[in-house]
Each structure stands twice: as structure tokens, then as C-alpha cells.
Symmetry: C2
Subunit: 248 residues, 2 copies
């Protein structure tokens, strides 16, 4: 019997972190890393995925559909396609639209990245992973769940809709505040309060995530109303402060 | 020789925390706590401060001048008046305006409150205290500095102007973001990212500080331009996100 074989498409920070995790936790698996041509969207050596059991596109959301279209003709019945995007409804829709009924689909969102992995010493214990069986036999989903449990990761079963709605209340807000603090260029002073130290933590954690903020906003439909709520709320707060100055 | 005697005016959270600190660190001092009448601004039993060596008004900034006017006729040459307000220029101006030349004036801002003291087990080690000798002999200032050093507190010597300018960049911002998060009513979810956990920390730390935000904004002249910068910056950020959605 041949080794279980996984293709990761995308050699960016997250794709490389995934490859490192598979090598650590399931060293018996074969892990292929593919990337697109520097000159076009074509994935170099894509024919190799024909012999893979699972395919993970680890690419920006804006490239997700182009990648799914390229892998489509190479799928066999039972191949597992796993999305790891930062929003879930959009990639679910794209996979369901393009990939044949007999291709299994797993929606996931690892709520961590290379920086939090580095902080955790590449130990998955307690890190959060959202998963959902978009299309697959229950037995396969259960096997995946059991395998994940062994790593110590915290598995959260949530549908793409519930994921996107919740993340617009949590991740989107922290990325938005982080980008604001980055643009304001806040810096540690000789006179920090505790809450200012915590604000500096938010800025440090999100410092490389502006592209994620853009994608989250573009592909998660719940973010635009949340942005409007934030703008309105801070405007009201500003007016309250101004009114308090003028009070006799 | 009689014990060194301190009057704290104001029995709010911060005044009570100060009394507790004096009792812990200098139990040989006599500490009086006075408060205003429930019906007027008159401080009950104020004549007792005539025999005190130091007076600390621990009252909201909006009551600071009323308190200084009441203590003025009871000051002796060499009495030390210590402000502990969250902004420094305004109380410095009020004390210098009303109190006679032979009354010593110390500007301070403890960058901590009852909540951070509770977290620290009422141990001052490493907590930040800004101080400045507004008006006093150098020898007295040096003696105070030496006494503070023994507690392990981190003494930061900064003028009221520098204090207010810096705090508008740090404390004001974290109070503003905290108030925004409070109004948005953010809550922990089943799918928190690390940066969202940090945002929840900011909300928790500042949850009782809306009145401080109001006072900081009113009495620190550097906050209004900072608020305008924040509103402009988040507006620009919102426009950039909207533009990114519409990109083909």
C-alpha cells in the first residue's frame, strides 16, 4: 500500500507552515508542495496531483477559483479537497460549483498562522481549527476528526455560514483595529498604561495581516455591515467627547 | 515628634486605593480620608488638614479647582500638595494659580489603578509613576524620590507638558479603543483568534474607565487633534476596504 499523499498548492507563508506541520505530525505521509509559474497562473507540475489523496489550495482567496479550475480535470472519485481559507462561504461555493459530486470537500479554517505557530513551538495543542464536512461520507469525516484530536488541536465544528458570521464579529474587528493602529504608527512610550501595552500587542500580532484584512473584507459578506457599525459607533463616540468638552 | 500626616481628599476607588497603599508601605504615617458632603461641594471635616504635612486631592478633574479653593486657606508654609490626576497640565495650572508660593507642589500621575493593583497583589514593584517637582526645594524632591524607590515602583520624571503630549498618544488611544469595543459590545466567541483575544483584554482592562476617557479628553489639550487623526485614519481605511471590494 502506498503512503497517503497530500499536495499543498502555494508556497507562501501558510502553505509552507502546513507542510512543516504534516512533516512533524504525520511523517509517514508524502507531502508535495506546488506553486504557480512566476509568469502566469499555471501551477507548475500540476499533473503530479493525480496520484494524491488530498489537495490543499493554500493560496489567496483571489486566486482560489483559478486554482480549483486547474485541479478539476485531475480529480479522481474520492479525492479530498481541503480549503484552508480565512473566509469559508466563498471557497465552499467555488468548490461545490466546479468539482464533481464524487470529489470529497472539507471546509477548514485554522485560526492560527506561522507567527502563532512559532510562538507555540509548532505544537498544535490548544490551537483552534474550524472544520465542516461540505461533502463527504460521515465515516471519512469521523476519521479526520479522530486524527486531528491526536495532535491536541481544538476542533470546532461550524458551518461556513456560522463561521463567516462569527469571524466578522471577532477576527475582522481585530484586523481592522490592528490596521488602524499600524496606520497611526503607535509606539511604546516611557509612560505606557496596561491597556496601551495590550493595544501594542494587537498591533504586533496583526502587523503582517493587512492582505488578510483586505481578503476577509472582500470575501466575507458579514464584514461590510460590521465596518459601517464601527464607523458609526466611533463617530458617535467622538461627538460625545466633543459635547463633554463644551459642557459648562 | 509627631507622625508624618497625609490627608487624602476623595473616598472614590482611587482615593481608597491610595489610603491602602500608604497603610501598607508607610504604616507609621497618619492617613486621613476626607470626602465631600452628599449635598454640596463642601469637604466635611476639612479643618483637620491644618495639621497635615501633605494633601492629596483624589477627585475628578472637574472638581479639582473647587477642592483647591477650599484647602487654600488652611495651608501652612511647606505643606506639600500632590496631584494624582490623569492629566497634568490642568491641575498644575490650578495649583500654581491658587496656592501661595510657600506651599510645595508635586505633580504625579500613577499609571495604574485599583484593578491593576489588585492584579499585582498590591505590590508596587515595576508599576509606573510619573512625577515632577512643580514647586519645591530640590532636597524635598530627592527625599520623595528615595522613598518611592524603596517600594520598587518605577519612577518616571517628566514635565506636565511632556506627560500630556505622550499620554494623548498612548493612554487616550487605548481608552478610546476600549470605549469603542464596549459600545460594539464585543464578546468572546467559539472561534477567537489571538489578536481578538488581545482585543478582549483591552476591553476588560478599560471597562470602568469611560469617565476617565471623558476627563482625559476634556483636560488634556493634545487629545482633540488625536481624536481627529483617528477618525480621519479609520475613514481612509474604510474607503480602502470598500475600493478593494470593487476591484475587478
Amino acid at each position: 500500500m502506498e503512503a497517503y499523499s497530500i499536495a499543498i498548492i502555494g508556497k507562501g507563508n501558510f502553505g509552507s507552515a502546513l507542510a512543516r506541520l504534516f512533516n512533524k505530525y504525520v511523517p509517514q505521509y508524502e507531502v508535495l508542495q506546488l506553486d504557480k509559474s512566476p509568469d502566469s497562473e499555471a501551477i507548475l507540475g500540476i499533473e503530479a496531483i493525480q496520484r494524491c489523496d488530498a489537495i490543499i489550495p493554500a493560496v489567496p482567496l483571489s486566486k482560489f477559483e483559478i486554482v480549483i479550475e486547474q485541479i478539476k480535470p485531475l480529480m479522481k472519485p474520492g479525492t479530498l479537497v481541503i480549503d484552508v481559507c480565512t473566509t469559508s462561504c466563498y471557497p465552499a461555493e467555488i468548490m461545490q460549483k466546479h468539482l464533481p459530486q464524487d470529489v470529497h470537500l472539507l471546509s477548514t479554517h485554522p485560526l492560527f498562522g506561522p507567527e502563532s505557530l512559532e510562538t507555540a513551538g509548532w505544537d498544535l495543542t490548544g490551537l483552534n481549527l474550524v472544520i465542516w464536512p461540505l461533502r463527504m461520507p460521515e465515516a471519512v469525516y469521523n476519521t479526520i476528526g479522530k486524527g486531528l484530536k491526536k495532535t491536541g488541536i481544538n476542533v470546532i465544528h461550524k458551518s461556513p455560514e456560522e463561521h463567516d458570521r462569527t469571524l466578522a464579529e471577532s477576527q475582522f474587528l481585530s484586523l481592522l483595529v490592528g490596521a488602524l493602529l499600524e496606520k497611526l504608527d503607535i509606539q511604546s512610550t516611557a509612560m505606557n498604561t496596561r491597556s496601551f501595552d495590550e493595544l501594542l500587542d494587537v498591533k504586533a500580532t496583526t502587523r503582517n495581516d493587512y492582505h488578510i484584512l483586505l481578503d476577509v473584507f472582500r470575501y466575507n459578506p458579514y464584514c461590510e455591515p460590521k465596518l459601517n457599525e464601527v464607523l458609526e459607533t466611533i463617530g458617535t463616540l467622538g461627538n460625545q467627547l466633543q459635547a463633554y468638552i463644551k459642557k459648562p
